[in-house]
Symmetry: C2
Subunit: 336 residues, 2 copies
């Protein structure tokens, strides 16, 4: 992973520098006048360094004691799912920090780090428009300086599902999120339900390491045909895009079946597999029916369970999930 990471660092020096002028690299510099994409008024400041983020949040907390700070960690290339997290953060806090960082250590060497879509100017404009107070857009070297050598491993909840084909992925996620938590020290942090296992990993880490941060998980935002919004949807050509809708449709069928009394996890998995198999461009990686807290497989859906799928569609690896609620059940406690 280390070698891959160094390679990726070099690979992206250029693309990062393309947007360098937008970013304040000075510890204490004010970047209020940077373009943030708003039609008028002061633009949202953009920090490129840990020290600058800390200085700004320190100033905020001195000026406004008890200010509630929220963090929305992202890899950029915003869609409605991201904006929804930012709006929730906006509604529930005084100061919203959005980090934009394509975290190299959560990508395996075979994965799409190089291709991951980026458009910083568009992201800053979209985030500013929903009321973000500070963007943190660090270069790779700011997060992983020479000599960086620590990793956080979350146990069982980080096994199975996506971990089976993405070894080291959740370790990379947990490590970067711990860093962002320590840099921003938010009161709340926002994640999307689409990445259900990621959210479970973050919750486990946050509790185990006593971060004292409230983890908010917001509902998946979907396209008209139900496809979960994802920055990776941009990889899809029109035929792939059309077939990708089956992921959510198959989960919806399972949800309907459970609401009608089906409890067998194996029958539900077969149902989902069959629906997906009818779409030849959708190459299923897994279908699992799991406990939404522990991510461990369940045999019977006699209480709320999570149906989770992953598939390759063209170049894109897509994931989705949906709560399965038995008749009379509720998933309220699992979606907060």
């Amino acid at each position: 992973m280390s070698a891959n990471f160094s390679a990726s660092r070099r690979r992206f020096a250029g693309s990062f520098l393309d947007s360098f002028l937008l970013i304040d690299m000075n510890t204490n510099g004010a970047s209020e006048n940077l373009p943030g994409g708003k039609a008028s008024g002061a633009a949202t400041p953009v920090s490129g360094t840990v020290a600058d983020v800390r200085a700004r949040i320190g100033t905020l907390r001195r000026r406004q004691h008890g200010a509630r700070v929220s963090l929305v960690p992202t890899m950029g290339f915003f869609h409605e799912g991201h904006l929804n997290l930012m709006r929730a953060a906006r509604n529930e806090s005084d100061f919203v920090v959005v980090s934009i960082f394509v975290n190299p250590i959560q990508f395996a060497p075979t994965e799409d780090l190089a291709a991951y879509p980026r458009d910083l100017g568009r992201d800053l404009a979209m985030g500013s428009a929903v009321g973000v107070n500070l963007f943190f857009v660090p270069p790779d070297e700011e997060i992983y300086p020479q000599g960086f050598d620590t990793k956080i491993e979350v146990g069982r909840v980080a096994e199975g599902l996506c971990a089976e084909t993405r070894p080291g992925h959740f370790q990379g996620v947990a490590t970067v999120v711990a860093k962002l938590f320590n840099i921003v020290r938010p009161d709340k942090a926002y994640f999307g339900q689409k990445d259900a296992q990621q959210a479970a990993v973050i919750k486990q880490m946050t509790e185990d390491l006593n971060f004292g941060i409230e983890i908010r998980v917001c509902p998946t935002v979907r396209e008209a045909d139900g496809l979960a919004m994802s920055s990776r949807n941009t990889y899809l050509n029109s035929e792939e895009r059309s077939q990708a809708g089956v992921l959510y449709q198959s989960l919806s069928e399972a949800r309907t079946a459970v609401a009608a009394g089906e409890t067998s996890a194996s029958r539900l998995r077969r149902m989902i597999k069959k629906a997906i198999a009818a779409n030849y461009m959708v190459d299923l990686e897994y279908v699992r029916i799991v406990d939404p807290g522990t991510m461990e497989p369940v045999a019977a859906v006699d209480r709320p369970a999570l149906a989770a799928v992953a598939a390759k569609v063209g170049r894109a690896r897509l994931i989705d999930n949906e709560m399965l609620i038995p008749p009379g059940g509720t998933d309220a406690q699992d979606r907060s």
Copy 2:
């Protein structure tokens, strides 16, 4: 490690409960009237829960904005080395928190967790007398509740030396210290130079995970014959105690040799080994000459290096280290 941990948790429920009455287990309860060992006046409060520590430090920070908080993490059974850390913290901050927690996950199943010396009443009295503001004395379940499943691994600096015979030890140390850092959120944290590799691991983790905490490493405090103070010295009978002094004496010989121009790490190691071998009760585990920052072996002492030893003496595993400074050199930058 998990099974061992559960066993140790059960094993210590009793001994912890013996001192339970001293400890405030209520989230918001005031424990100002608990005995803290002072001859007069209000005793130092003792918290047994994360929530109580947070509430107290939150109150402090609200009342005294900009208050500088220090943390001294310990496993208790205080000696002058611990008190020295507390005095340094006292001199450099407004509020000194001392944690007393014999961390089960840093002990291997074969090690001395069960035997580790404890005397909470004495510790509270000694700490109070040097001006500690808050003791954090959690039961095992408060730090490792049911379902705990996260670990922090620091890389190369946590390899070699003590890691060779204590697999998982530094992972356990890093994990508990990260938790204490998040619970207390100190500005500075204090560690002893005797545990040089531990201090290097904590520094690496603190930097890598952006804790924003200053790590202070204080000089080793020694007995009259040079033996480094350690809670484990209590395991020694009088003959073992007498022979244990050779650890420091051998390091001093090496230091003198380096000051006189010796640069060969292999000759220095042989010199230390020979001195120790003359004491039949001292069973040497390792002698290493290492870079004091990375803990990696050096071949030549042409700049300041650390000579580190570990040995079994009777039931006790003892460690010690000493900076080797070539003529004209300085170790100032390595001892801060």
